[in-house]
């Protein structure tokens, strides 16, 4: 029953999206103005309905209702509770439902909360959001219905891919999805503002918190994904330039650029067309990423042919939405009025440069990700990995870091450079000192890690300089947010550089009782024993680790796990974190002579990568909260917000007419 009700609710939500689009478009015409008031409530209800459908899917997974095809294919009655819930979105159909849920909720929240925007632009935005949602509703309802029944119902489910049975999964994909799909609202704002020719600071201020919110989720999602890959795959790496990872990085790069340009537009009224363009690009990257991941074109070009429906459906949506938005942009770009002027050597100028560099990096990642697809179409199989991505993106990353250090210290409109040169002398000295130390003490660590350490040190200092000579208690939250986020970049970069510069690795076949050294550690293999978990069995090693001359012993338990359903083997690495790095141990197989394979890494300062990611996210949160609080305070003083005044009398009359 639940599945049928949920499906009916989903159809109803889709019908409301049609209404939201139709009524919204009509309301924008000369005759339809009386319907303007009706669009917001529709958007709210649509969001609630689709969220209900998603909640019901989770209920089906919680009850392990095996008569539902999706549950039977992805769940198992013996699975721990958290993975039953996570199973709801750990598959194609469920994740598509999550997608429309996030879109619906984003539209609903905007309709409910955003009161600063011109009402016509708001209605155009909501209509745009409904238009985008509809494509994905259609995709689900016609080609991947999550509530499809299975008759007869199987006795037991297939289980969830064991690699995904990890607390990381419960958190990581929904976080990324909220980020991905949250960008849709920026896209809709841009489309709405183009339609009503309303691209200006008010539009930017309305859009900014939503872009910031989506960006925070993307940042945290990527950080969590990298951490998950690091400890779950057991390969000791934290970023593989895997197409799926790139699919999440590309929207983040675009959203980061958008975040900065939307700030310029909100504060200074400049970069109008560029901001609109970035909003379109950012969500396009979300869709390209989804297409790459969902169509299966990544794993194999032939999987695309195996399931042409899925891939070509998303590709069609991609063409309609991106093509449509670009066409609209082309038509209306000339009507976007000239923004405020500024000198190139200014805060705005540095933000433009950073935007260009970010988009350049985006282009490099996009080309590297798509290149294998293109060559395969011509019959040549290639793969593109770190030897391409690392050095090529570095060409753009390092200049960007310099501008990141300098930009926040520059004045708006025009900077004369004198104060800037004095301020930047400090980080430059720190960077130079780091360079000297690294060259003298670290030896040959490679060019990129060396540059990484040097730039991280310089940026760490430079990112704090905007607080120089400020009253810290009176510094607004969004300034703190910027400082913390930029500092977070320096922290993450230091972790990345340190990992590749100072990583030590041992690979041994060890007898029981034998000791090995890796970096400053001495590690003894004391034994291997079988253990059993809820739905797996494992061989677990007992390793005792000592740091340097210390007598403190720490036990590590890496496992080789065998899952029963579906039958899969995974390797569970054991991690030991110290303030100055992480010890990482993986258990391999037993040889004929009774020796066990062990792979041990000592990774100095590697956790900084994820601490940095968290700091970047925290900076975003501070900025979002600070700005929202300030906006709310200003709401109490209507004379500062003249735009909110004319909107107030309208509800009464508009509502009555709509009822009549």
């Amino acid at each position: 029953m639940i599945a049928e009700i949920a499906l009916a609710i989903l159809w109803l939500a889709a019908a409301l999206a049609v209404l939201q689009l139709g009524l919204g478009s009509y309301a924008l015409t000369a005759r339809g103005a009386e319907f303007l008031r009706a669009v917001r409530p529709i958007a709210v209800v649509q969001g609630l309905l689709v969220a209900t459908a998603f909640a019901l899917l989770i209920v089906l997974f919680l009850r392990t209702d095996l008569s539902v095809k999706l549950v039977a294919a992805n769940s198992h009655s013996l699975k721990p509770l958290i993975y039953k819930i996570a199973g709801a979105w750990g598959n194609h159909e469920g994740s598509m439902l999550l997608w429309v849920t996030v879109m619906g909720l984003a539209g609903g929240f905007v309709a409910l909360l955003e009161r600063r925007l011109n009402e016509r632009t708001m209605v155009a935005t909501l209509a745009g959001q409904a238009f985008v949602s509809l494509g994905f509703y259609a995709f689900m309802l016609f080609s991947s219905n999550p509530f499809e029944r299975l008759n007869p119902a199987p006795v037991e489910g297939n289980g969830l891919n064991p690699l995904l049975q990890d607390p990381g999964l419960a958190f990581h994909p929904p976080t990324l999805y909220i980020g991905y799909v949250g960008l849709s609202i920026a896209f809709s704002f841009a489309v709405g503002a183009l339609i009503t020719r309303d691209v200006g600071p008010a539009f930017a201020r309305a859009m900014r918190p939503w872009v910031m919110g989506a960006w925070i989720f993307l940042t945290l999602g990527i950080t969590a994904g990298s951490w998950w890959a690091y400890y779950e795959l057991g390969w000791g790496g934290w970023w593989f330039w895997d197409p799926v990872e790139n699919a999440s990085l590309m929207p983040w790069l675009a959203a980061t650029a958008l975040l900065h340009s939307v700030s310029v537009l909100a504060t200074r009224g400049a970069l109008k067309a560029w901001t609109v363009m970035l909003a379109v690009v950012a969500f396009s990257m979300s869709m390209v990423g989804t297409f790459l991941v969902r169509s299966g074109i990544l794993t194999s070009v032939h999987a695309f042919a195996v399931d042409p429906e899925r891939g070509s459906f998303i590709l069609t949506l991609l063409a309609i939405y991106i093509g449509g938005a670009l066409a609209l942009f082309g038509l209306r770009a000339s009507t976007v009025t000239e923004g405020a002027r500024f000198h190139l050597f200014s805060r705005e100028g540095s933000l433009v440069m950073n935007n260009v560099l970010l988009v350049g990096i985006l282009g490099i990642v996009l080309m590297g990700t798509l290149y294998p697809l293109v060559t395969e179409a011509f019959g040549t199989k290639v793969s593109v990995g770190p030897p391409y991505f690392n050095p090529v993106s570095a060409i753009f990353v390092f200049p960007m870091l310099v501008i990141m250090a300098a930009g926040p210290l520059m004045r708006w409109r025009q900077d004369n450079g004198r104060k800037l040169a004095n301020l930047l002398a400090v980080p430059a000295l720190v960077a130079a000192a780091t360079l000297a130390l690294a060259v003298v003490f670290a030896g040959d660590i490679g060019v990129l890690p060396l540059l990484g350490l040097v730039f991280a040190a310089g940026l760490a200092v430079a990112s704090l300089l905007p607080l120089w000579k400020r009253n810290l208690r009176r510094t607004p939250a969004h300034i703190w947010g910027m400082v913390i986020a930029h500092f977070g970049i320096a922290v993450a970069l230091a972790g990345m550089a340190s990992e590749s510069a100072f990583n030590t690795e041992r690979l041994v076949a060890s007898e029981i009782g034998q000791s090995h050294t890796v970096g400053p550690w001495t590690i003894e293999l004391q034994g291997v024993r079988p253990i059993a978990g809820a739905n797996w069995t494992a061989l677990e090693a007992r390793l005792v680790a000592r740091y340097g001359d210390s007598n403190v012993q720490t036990v590590l338990n890496p496992q080789a796990r065998m899952f029963a359903s579906p039958p899969t083997a995974t390797s569970e690495a054991a991690l030991l974190t110290r303030w100055n790095g992480q010890l990482y141990a993986v258990l391999g197989e037993e040889g004929d002579d009774g020796r066990w394979q062990l792979r041990l890494w000592w990774k100095p300062f590697v956790p900084l990568i994820w601490y940095g990611g968290l700091l970047i996210g925290l900076g975003g949160v501070l900025s979002l909260v600070g700005r929202t609080a300030r906006d709310l305070r200003r709401k109490g003083e209507p004379e500062l917000e003249p735009t909110s005044e004319p909107a107030a009398p309208r509800p009464a009359s508009g509502g009555q007419e709509a009822l009549a």
């Binding site: 794993t299 260009v356 290149y371 090529v392």
Partner: protein
Amino acid sequence: MKAKHQRLVLICIALVGLVAAGLIAAYALRDQASYFYTPGDIAEKGVEPGQAIRLGGMVQKGSVRKQADGVTIDFIVEDGKGTVPVRFTGITPDLFVEGSGVVAEGRMDKAGFFVADNLLAKHDENYVPREMRDMTKADVKKLGGTVQQP
């Protein structure tokens, strides 16, 4: 600076940045992309020793030999048109078995050995390295291999 003039300068900067990114990327891709070879390709065309490539084929039955250090294995990859000896040091993927498909990342050494840095085998029920899907269709049957279909 005049308004139009400024817009033009900004557009130029953006274009120069993007075109530069594109050109650098295109140039680097030609150098850095690692090509996929089968043993037959190597027998036919040959590969420069030291160049990073991916080698894909079937692990010949009975060819896997573990070395005395306990962590190095040698085996032979074949595709019906040729064979290549491979050496790999590390923990093999769980689904690395004789008579099954494998993709090895690494390079040929001067002695004609393929030195693998990394072995990719099926690591979950849905994932197959891109290049292996082709082989599952025709070549596997020819070789009497037992690759599970995804």
